[in-house]
């Protein structure tokens, strides 16, 4: 009660309007044919209507711009724009007007006014205009605090303020998933869901990798110069739609060399998302640094550098293993090879591989042959660290397809 009374006593009126983008007026085409009862009337009415598209009156989407009708929703990452108008409703000249617009969020208070200097005087029926912009960086309750102070012609200093509360909502739901490839590559799948109520054009969804990685975006289908997006011709997201983006991260050579170094939690990078909605209303968000737990390799990591995918039955074939010391100490390794039912190792078992310092690796060419057709798993490697008398077992290292080269001839 007090508040409203106080309001009326003031000589100045403060009005605030959020400036979302204007909308295009849509008209409602109702047509008839010349032979119908209204004859040409309906068409004529539509032609005379200024909001229709001349020459194509049946087109619903017009060109007339209309101002926003309500506050609407505001989402994190969008820009909050607002018109602030201070109007002199009285019949006297008002002096020294200072308009101040602050935005109070849950953590801070920001000054949004373009200028902080006072206006010397305001005549009746004139107004002070200000358009403020602020990129919203917090979620939750925001309060726009507009304060007006002025001096009446009798020298009385007056002051009032108004509060405008609004909620900033979350526009997107982002889920991420990491896949570790055999070759130190990491694949990141990001699911981005539009949880607003309007369609959203995804202008940019990119992964900014951390210094350790190079990134390749896997969201286009090869072909042509630019490549076609995997999402089709139209890059927009309907409300509640989810889209999956895929990125391949390769460690930079200088880090890949020290493969053992990438251990534990590593920072992969962050997603940078730019979207647009109605008439180019823009929003931008970045995720925090995405982190991944590098797969643990234990003390010794054994990976394959070369292996054929298909081999002939009972014919020897070569593989190259890479053995990396991931531990903090030097190892002295001995290699044992145990035959399985189908895979047979060629060469001497129990040979010494020598000392391997921390972070170092060695490439080890080995020869095998398979006695059974089909998809065979390579198993049976044993590495023993003679310093600690610890044995590491490597089974199911990889698979090869074993085929019989004579099938066609002999059948």
């Amino acid at each position: 009660m007090d508040v409203s009374q106080a309001k009326q006593e003031h000589l100045l009126a403060l009005k605030v309007m959020r400036l979302t983008k204007p909308t295009l007026f849509t008209n409602l085409p109702v047509t008839c044919e010349d032979r119908d009862l209204p004859g040409d009337l309906f068409d004529q009415l539509m032609r005379e209507d200024p909001s229709t598209i001349k020459g194509a009156e049946a087109l619903m989407l017009g060109e007339m711009l209309t101002l926003p009708q309500n506050f609407g929703n505001i989402f994190l990452g969008e820009t909050f724009s607002s018109y602030i108008s201070v109007h002199n409703d009285s019949i006297q000249v008002v002096k020294d007007i200072l308009v101040k617009a602050d935005l109070q969020t849950s953590s801070q208070r920001l000054n949004l006014s373009a200028s902080n200097s006072a206006v010397a005087e305001l005549k009746p029926e004139s107004c002070i205009d200000d358009v403020i912009h602020h990129e919203v960086k917090e979620i939750g309750t925001h309060i726009l605090v507009c304060a007006v102070s002025y001096t009446t012609q009798y020298g009385e200093k007056l002051y009032f303020r108004k509060f405008f509360k609004f909620q900033v909502l979350k526009p997107l739901d982002v889920k991420t998933k990491f896949y570790n490839a055999e070759t130190d590559e990491v694949f990141l799948e990001a699911q981005i869901q539009n949880i607003t109520t309007s369609p959203m054009f995804m202008e940019k969804v990119s992964l900014e990798p951390s210094m350790m990685y190079n990134v390749t975006e896997l969201n286009t289908v090869a072909g042509g110069d630019e490549g076609e997006s995997t999402f089709g011709k139209m890059s927009y997201l309907q409300p509640m739609d989810t889209r999956q983006y895929l990125y391949c991260l390769k460690p930079k050579p200088e880090y890949a060399e020290k493969a053992g170094v990438i251990k534990g939690v590593t920072v992969i990078g962050k997603l940078d998302i730019v979207w647009k909605t109605n008439l180019g209303e823009r929003g931008r968000l970045q995720t925090s640094q995405l982190q991944r737990m590098a797969p643990g390799y234990g003390d010794i990591r054994l990976s394959l550098e070369m292996i054929p995918d298909t081999v002939n039955l009972e014919e020897p074939f070569d593989i190259i293993c890479k053995i990396t010391n991931c531990s903090e100490r030097t190892m002295d390794l001995e290699l044992e090879m145990m035959n399985t039912r189908s895979i047979h190792w060629c060469g001497v078992s129990g040979r010494q591989l020598g000392k391997l310092s921390p972070g170092a690796f060695l490439s080890l060419p080995l020869i095998l042959l398979s006695s059974v057709q089909g998809l065979q798993s390579i198993s049976g490697l044993r590495l023993t660290d003679t310093f600690l008398k610890r044995t590491y077992e490597y089974d199911d290292i990889a698979q090869v397809c074993v085929v019989c080269p004579y099938t066609n001839n002999e059948c």
Partner: protein
């Protein structure tokens, strides 16, 4: 998969963790908006979340749900809101300006509540805090201290934000629901209100009297001797021939078998052709409305031509002659009424010559005991009739067809009904089947669903804001002040008094026996009655009274009932074939559900229309007639038909595209708009620009620009037409607008105005740009000037809406300025003006 909440503010995330079992939130990542300016004052809160790292050991989960706003509570939680809160809300609301705060309630539903199970006691604490918050903020205002309490506010905001956000949303939901309820109740008022002061209600007794009089008239035996198909009517069915409007109100209804089209008898009614404009006021003359029904349609003079032919076949029984006089009659009367277009000339028509003899037939209430006696009689009759009918329906007799079918009629009325309906129509046409046997479920029985007057919202507003004296000055045409005919109807439509026009269609339909409460009762259809329905439904749609339109179109089903085709009435429309329902009405029927949140249904119907259009075009291209019959058409004729049906097809495509746009299925909408170009190449520029604007609406500025480039190419190809240059400039302006460059956009709109100073769109849009540039006064001045100089162009909903919005922003005295607008509207606009855009209420 584990769900991880990413909170945005450090303060809150730590608070959340203290409230919840840490195991539920192993990691808190934060989403930060990149700070472009990088000069955010104070500590950067997000950095603080590193304190949550103790749980990193658990970082095995591969999927992380990054929840940007886990802190939002759901509406359910506020069930515990205390009354004091709502009181405080009210207080709080007074500080709010309605312009700004109106969150959509829907959004609260989207927020997931899984992780918001705050302990009860903390919740209560928060409530207390909130009260405190409100008090302080109010205090502050009273004290008038600048910024001193800032820190206090910060604390309270943090702690109560969860609850306040909830209750805020909830409160708004409630408000919204309230308004919705109001809207609904308004609608139901319109629908349900059967005003006792119905102007027609006085009639029944008189009508009844009139009817009983008619019954006493001797029965003409031509019809009752049963050669005419309608006498096949079995027991209990009484041929109520007179569909003259008002009669059906009386006892005629009980007989209910309006098997014979009113058309049949209408011309026979002998009335000393009263002044139609007086008709509805003067109950002394009851019938003339049926006269009126001949005025518009049956312009086809062919009827009189065909009739002699029809009579020629030898062996024509008296029965076959029976329809003849009427036909001649109707044709004569129509030919007379055609030039004038209306019957109110008052001159006695030639029909009156026939009247004395024929008027007896109209009453024709065969005594019920006679009916069984007649029933067997017609059985052997069909034979001669068949030969006769063969002339009418004979598609294999080109000569007769040419005589009996006007080319234009055939072209426009062609339709492909469903197989079932088609068979029935063939058997009716070949006299194997009497329409009387058609089950009532297959008949169309429409009637008005509301009969209250539509009123004039502008006048109501004037009464409320400007007083009775001002309201009295408002002069608009009403249903009473025009001729009770199509001429009057057209006057109402062209003067934009669509509400009055709806009233008038209601009267005319009542006169036709399809008035209020007549739905579900049999009545016959004529070209006129269906045109009236079409106009009425179109106007309801134009007035956004979609529910009403839906209610009234519902009895028409899918517009495939046999009685909506000319073949069903071989005697009234001899030889005429095809759909009595105008194509535009089919289109309207198909479009209607999309305005009632049933776009899928609309699409289904539109696809049906499209299929028929394509089939007809295929028939035409194959050298057949539209309906696939083997009529040889002249080249000129065929071209005419092809042109018409192509334009119909493109109109259907437009509707489909519009519907898809409403559904926000932009991919298909764009595709459909694009496909229209092949049918309407001259609309290429407009269509491509429209598609470009769709992309701007989605936010895809780049693709929009590509389309706008295509527009520019198309414009260059066709040479420089001023309209095209305008279009190119407009498109540029929209692109600038989408790039947030309002200065550039304003410049482009201004450039359009240099070439075309009267362009209302450019004028309005330039003014809108000015507002975004912070020039409220200039913008307002421009729009105000436009409305004053050229009210015909600028008293448009969209312009007025912009203007009133700016008034609200400009000063506290917006209501007076709006009232001035209302006065301007009152002297120019009809009753169909949408007063909402004045934002007076």
């Amino acid at each position: 998969m584990r769900s991880i909440c990413i909170s945005v503010s450090a303060v809150r995330s730590s608070k959340m963790d203290s409230e919840e079992a840490p195991a539920q939130r192993p990691v808190t990542l934060e989403i930060t908006v990149e700070d472009a300016t990088a000069e955010a004052p104070g500590p950067d809160p997000p950095k603080l979340t590193i304190s949550q790292t103790p749980l990193r050991e658990n970082l095995l989960p591969q999927v992380e749900s990054i929840d940007l706003g886990g802190e939002f509570s759901t509406p359910q939680e506020d069930s515990s809101a205390t009354p004091s809160e709502s009181l405080m809300d009210k207080l709080n609301d007074q500080m709010m300006e309605s312009v700004l705060i109106s969150d959509s309630p829907n959004n609260s539903e989207e927020e997931d509540d899984d992780d918001d199970v705050a302990p009860m006691d903390s919740f209560l604490d928060a409530v207390e805090e909130e009260d405190h918050f409100h008090e302080t903020s109010v205090d502050k205002e009273e004290q008038g201290e600048i910024g001193q309490n800032t820190t206090e506010i910060e604390v309270t905001v943090e702690e109560q934000e969860k609850d306040s956000s909830v209750e805020k949303v909830d409160e708004e939901t409630r408000e919204q629901t309230d308004t919705e309820e109001q809207v609904i109740s308004c609608v139901s008022l319109q629908v349900d209100e059967h005003s006792p002061s119905d102007p027609n209600s006085g009639e029944p007794s008189l009508l009844e009297a009139q009817e009983t009089k008619d019954y006493s008239v001797p029965v003409c035996t031509i019809f009752s001797h049963g050669t005419h198909p309608k006498s096949l009517v079995p027991d209990g069915f009484q041929p109520t021939l007179i569909k003259s409007p008002s009669f059906s109100m009386g006892s005629g209804v009980e007989t209910s078998e309006a098997v014979t089209p009113s058309k049949l008898m209408a011309p026979l009614v002998c009335q000393p052709s009263p002044s139609l404009s007086k008709f509805f006021n003067d109950n002394g003359h009851v019938n003339p409305a049926s006269d009126f029904f001949d005025s518009f349609t049956v312009p086809s003079s062919f009827i009189s031509v065909s009739n002699p032919n029809a009579d020629i076949p030898p062996g024509a029984t008296p029965a076959s002659i029976a329809p003849t006089p009427e036909r001649q009659l109707s044709s004569t009367s129509s030919s007379i009424s055609n030039p004038g277009g209306a019957l109110d000339s008052g001159a006695p028509t030639p029909s009156s010559v026939f009247a004395p003899s024929e008027s007896t037939t109209k009453a024709q209430p065969p005594p019920s005991q006679e009916a069984p006696a007649q029933a067997p009689a017609p059985a052997p009759q069909p034979q001669p009739f068949n030969t006769l009918q063969a002339v009418f329906s004979g598609s294999d007799d080109p000569f007769a067809t040419a005589l009996s079918l006007s080319e234009v009629d055939r072209r426009h009325d062609s339709w492909l009904p469903s197989e079932e309906t088609r068979k029935l129509l063939i058997s009716v046409a070949t006299q194997q089947y009497s329409p009387a046997y058609v089950e009532t479920t297959r008949l169309t029985m429409p009637g008005l669903k509301f009969d209250n007057l539509q009123g004039d919202a502008v006048k109501d507003l004037m009464l409320r804001f400007l007083g009775e004296a001002a309201a009295m000055k408002r002069q608009v045409l009403t249903a009473n002040s025009v001729e009770q005919s199509f001429t009057g109807l057209k006057r109402l439509i062209s003067s934009k008094n669509w509400r009055a026009a709806v009233d008038l269609t209601g009267r005319l339909l009542t006169a036709h026996g399809q008035g209020y409460g007549k739905a579900g009762q049999q009545s016959s259809h004529t070209t006129d009655s269906l045109q009236l329905w079409f106009v009425r439904l179109s106007l309801l749609t134009k007035l956004n009274l979609f529910q009403n339109a839906e209610l009234e179109i519902e009895p028409f089903g899918n517009l495939d009932q046999p009685d909506l085709f000319y073949e069903y009435y071989p005697t009234v429309y001899p030889g005429r074939r095809g759909s009595m329902v105008p194509f535009s009405m089919r289109l309207l029927h198909a479009e209607l559900p999309q305005y009632l949140a049933k776009p899928q249904e609309a699409l289904d119907r539109l696809h049906n229309l499209k299929t028929v259009c394509l089939a007809i075009l295929e028939n035409l291209e194959k050298g057949l007639a539209e309906d696939g019959s083997m009529i040889t058409l002249t080249q000129e004729n065929r071209q005419g038909s092809l042109k018409l049906w192509r334009s119909r097809l493109s109109r259907v495509m437009y509707s489909m595209a519009n519907c898809l746009l409403l559904m926000k299925d932009y991919v298909l909408a764009v595709e459909t708009y694009h496909s229209i170009i092949q049918y309407e190449p001259q609309q290429r520029v407009q269509l491509l620009s429209g598609i470009g604007r769709i992309f701007l609406q989605i936010g895809d500025v780049k693709t929009a620009e590509r389309y706008f480039q295509d527009v520019e190419k198309a414009c260059q190809m066709t040479g420089s037409q001023p309209s095209h240059t305008t279009c190119v400039l407009m498109n540029r302006a929209f692109v600038s607008l989408s790039q947030n460059n309002y200065t550039e956009a304003h410049a482009s709109f201004t450039e359009v105005l240099k070439m075309d100073p009267k362009n209302p769109v450019a004028n309005n849009n330039a003014a809108v740009c000015l507002l975004y540039l912070g020039c409220l006064k200039e913008s307002l001045g421009q729009l105000e000037g436009l409305v004053q100089q050229d009210p015909a162009l600028y008293l448009h909903e969209s312009v007025l809406f912009n203007l009133t919005t700016m008034y609200e922003l400009e000063s506290s005295r917006s209501t007076q300025k709006k009232q001035a607008l209302l006065e301007a509207v009152a002297c120019r606009e009809g009753d169909s003006f949408n007063t909402q855009c004045l934002k007076l209420v």
